[in-house]
Symmetry: C2
C-alpha cells in the first residue's frame, strides 16, 4: 500500500492506494498555505494516521509515501525549491518532514500536474496508454507528459509547463511575465473572463439572468450551459473558446503526436460537447494527415488522479 | 559500417559511416524530385556503389542502410506515405527499392529532421547528451527531439514538428494552413522577408548597397552582416528576429526543459552573435528560475548530421 499526498493551495488531499491503483481511503485537511512547511506537513501526517486507523492498517503497511506539489522542485533532494502560492515554503525538504513521523519509509516528490497526469493515465479512462499528454484546464492550464510509461519533465524536472506555451506573442500579459500564454486563453479563469466580456455586447443573453446580473457568479460552466439552451452569446463564447483550446492542443499534437491527449479540470465534464467541436477544429487544421491520429479524451478520475499519481511516484524512481 | 542516405529536395547526400560516427566517404547526386521513386533510388544505389569502390569496401561491409526522408513516413513499413515536394512519391516503399540493389541488408527509415538531430547529438558538439532538442532554421523550421538517447517522434512517428507550433494565432498564413507558425517567424525564409520589409523604411541602410539594390540577393546572413557593421536597419532586423526565435525557443524550454537546444541551419554560423542575445532574451522571460538551465548551442556538423543520423537509425530499431 502506498500513500499519495496532493498538496494544494486550499486543501491537502491524501489517500491510501493499493497496487491496483484503488483508493482504499481518502481525506483532506485545509492547507492554510501561509504556514511554515513543517506545520503543513504535521497536519498531513495526522491525516495519514487517521486514514490508517479508519482502514485498520498500520505504518508497517506503508511501502512508500509520494507527494505531488506545485512550484519548482528538486526531485532528487525531495525539496520544494519555491512555490509562489506558499509564501513560507522555500527550499523545504519533504523527505525530512515526513521522516519525523514515518521514519524509514521511502519518500518521493513530483510536480502536482505531472502526478495527476500520471495517476489519470495509470488508472483512468486512458488506462494502459504508454504515451499520452494531459492538459488540465483549471485556474491555470497544467500539463503532464507521459512517455514510455514515465513522467517526462526534462533534465531539471521542471518541464511540461504546457500552460506557458505562448500562442499569441501580441496577447495579454500572463502572470508568468510573458504574453499570450495558452493559459491566458484556455484556463477556466480565461473562459470566465471571456464570458464576462462577451455578454456586455449581448444585453438579451440569458446569461445575465443565469448569474443574477452578478459577474462574480460566472463559472467555467456558464457559457456552456447557455450555449446548450441556444443562447447566441453562449454559443459565440464556446465557439471562440474551442478555437483557443484547439490552437494549443494542435501545437501539442504537432510536437508530441501522443496516443491521446486527456483533458482534465472542471471543463472536461462537458464531455462530447467539448470534444466534438475540438475534433472538428483539429481535423480542419492538422498538418499530419493520412496517418493514425491522436485521440482526445476527457479525464475520469477528477481530483483522485493527483492522489493516485502521487502514491505511484515510487514507480518513477529511476527518473 | 553503415550507409546513411539523406534524401533532400535538391540532392541525395550519401555517406559511409563507421561505428564511431566517422564519415569514411560521402557524395551526392541530384534528386530530380519530379521522378518516380524507383528512379531516384536507382541513382542512390549507384552512388552507394561508387562510394564502396572509392573506399575499397564491398557490399559485405554494409551492416545497415538508413534513410532520412522528408514527408509523412510509416517507419515500420519503411514507406514514405507522402512528401509534398516529391509529386510522384506516394506510399513508396524504401525497403523494397533498396532490396533490389542490396538484398538482405537491413533498411531503416526516419524523418530527415529527426535523423539530422540524432546525428548532431550523437556526433556533434552536443555529443553525449541524452536529452536534447534540435531546431533547424532553414527554408522552414525543422525539429528533432532526443529523449533518453532515442528519437522521439510520437506514436505515429510524425511528431517533433516544432516549426508548426503556432506562436501568434493572428499571424500570417503558413504553408501548413494554420497561422503564425514558428517557421513563419524564425526560418531563413522569414528572416529574408523581414530584411526585405525593414530596409524599405531605411533608405540609408548599407544593406541596399550590399545587395546591389536587388532584393533577390538578400540572404539569411545579410541582416547579421549589416548589424555587425553598425547598420541600424540591420540591428533592428536582427533584434526583432532574436525576439521571434526567443519566443519559440522559450516555449520549447518550458515544455521540454532539455539539457540543450541545438540550433542548426545556415543561421547557426552566426555563433555567439546569435546565442548571446538569445540567452539574454531567455534570461529575461524564463518562468523556471533557481534551477539548472537548458544550454543553447549551435550545430557543428552541418549537412553531415543528416547522413550520420540516417546511418545510425539502426540503433533506434525498437522504437
Amino acid at each position: 500500500m502506498h500513500v499519495g499526498i496532493d498538496l494544494g493551495g486550499i486543501n491537502i488531499a491524501i489517500g491510501l492506494v493499493d497496487e491496483e491503483y484503488n483508493l482504499l481511503a481518502k481525506g483532506s485537511v485545509p492547507t492554510v498555505r501561509e504556514r511554515a512547511f513543517s506545520d503543513i506537513m504535521k497536519d498531513a501526517a495526522q491525516l495519514i494516521q487517521r486514514l490508517l486507523t479508519e482502514t485498520g492498517k498500520t505504518v508497517n503497511d506503508i511501502q512508500s509515501i509520494g507527494m505531488g506539489s506545485p512550484g519548482t522542485l528538486d526531485v532528487k533532494k525531495k525539496t520544494i525549491v519555491k512555490a509562489c502560492s506558499f509564501p513560507k515554503v522555500h527550499h523545504s525538504n519533504v523527505g525530512t518532514e515526513i521522516e519525523k513521523y514515518f521514519p524509514g519509509i521511502p519518500v518521493y516528490v513530483g510536480n502536482d500536474a505531472n502526478a495527476a497526469a500520471y495517476g489519470e493515465i495509470l488508472a483512468g479512462t486512458s488506462k494502459g496508454l504508454a504515451n499520452a499528454v494531459m492538459v488540465t484546464l483549471g485556474t491555470g492550464v497544467g500539463g503532464g507528459i507521459i512517455i514510455d510509461n514515465k513522467i517526462y519533465a526534462g533534465f531539471n524536472h521542471a518541464g511540461a509547463e504546457l500552460g506557458h506555451m505562448v500562442l499569441n506573442f501580441n496577447g495579454p500579459k500572463c502572470n508568468c511575465g510573458r504574453s499570450g500564454c495558452f493559459e491566458c486563453y484556455a484556463s477556466a479563469t480565461a473562459l470566465i473572463k471571456q464570458t464576462a466580456d462577451m455578454i456586455q455586447s449581448y444585453p438579451d443573453s440569458i446569461i445575465h439572468e443565469m448569474i443574477n446580473h452578478d459577474p462574480a457568479k460566472i463559472s467555467g460552466k456558464t457559457a456552456f450551459d447557455a450555449a446548450k439552451q441556444g443562447d447566441r452569446a453562449g454559443q459565440k463564447i464556446v465557439g471562440k473558446y474551442i478555437e483557443y483550446l484547439g490552437v494549443g492542443l494542435l501545437n501539442i499534437i504537432h510536437i508530441f503526436q501522443p496516443e491521446a491527449i486527456i483533458i482534465g479540470g472542471g471543463i472536461c465534464k462537458e464531455g462530447d460537447y467539448l470534444l466534438n467541436p475540438l475534433n472538428e477544429y483539429i481535423n480542419q487544421y492538422i498538418v499530419t494527415t493520412d496517418i493514425p491520429r491522436t485521440k482526445l479524451m476527457t479525464a475520469s478520475l477528477g481530483n483522485d488522479a493527483g492522489i493516485i499519481g502521487a502514491a505511484m511516484l515510487w514507480k518513477q524512481q529511476d527518473k
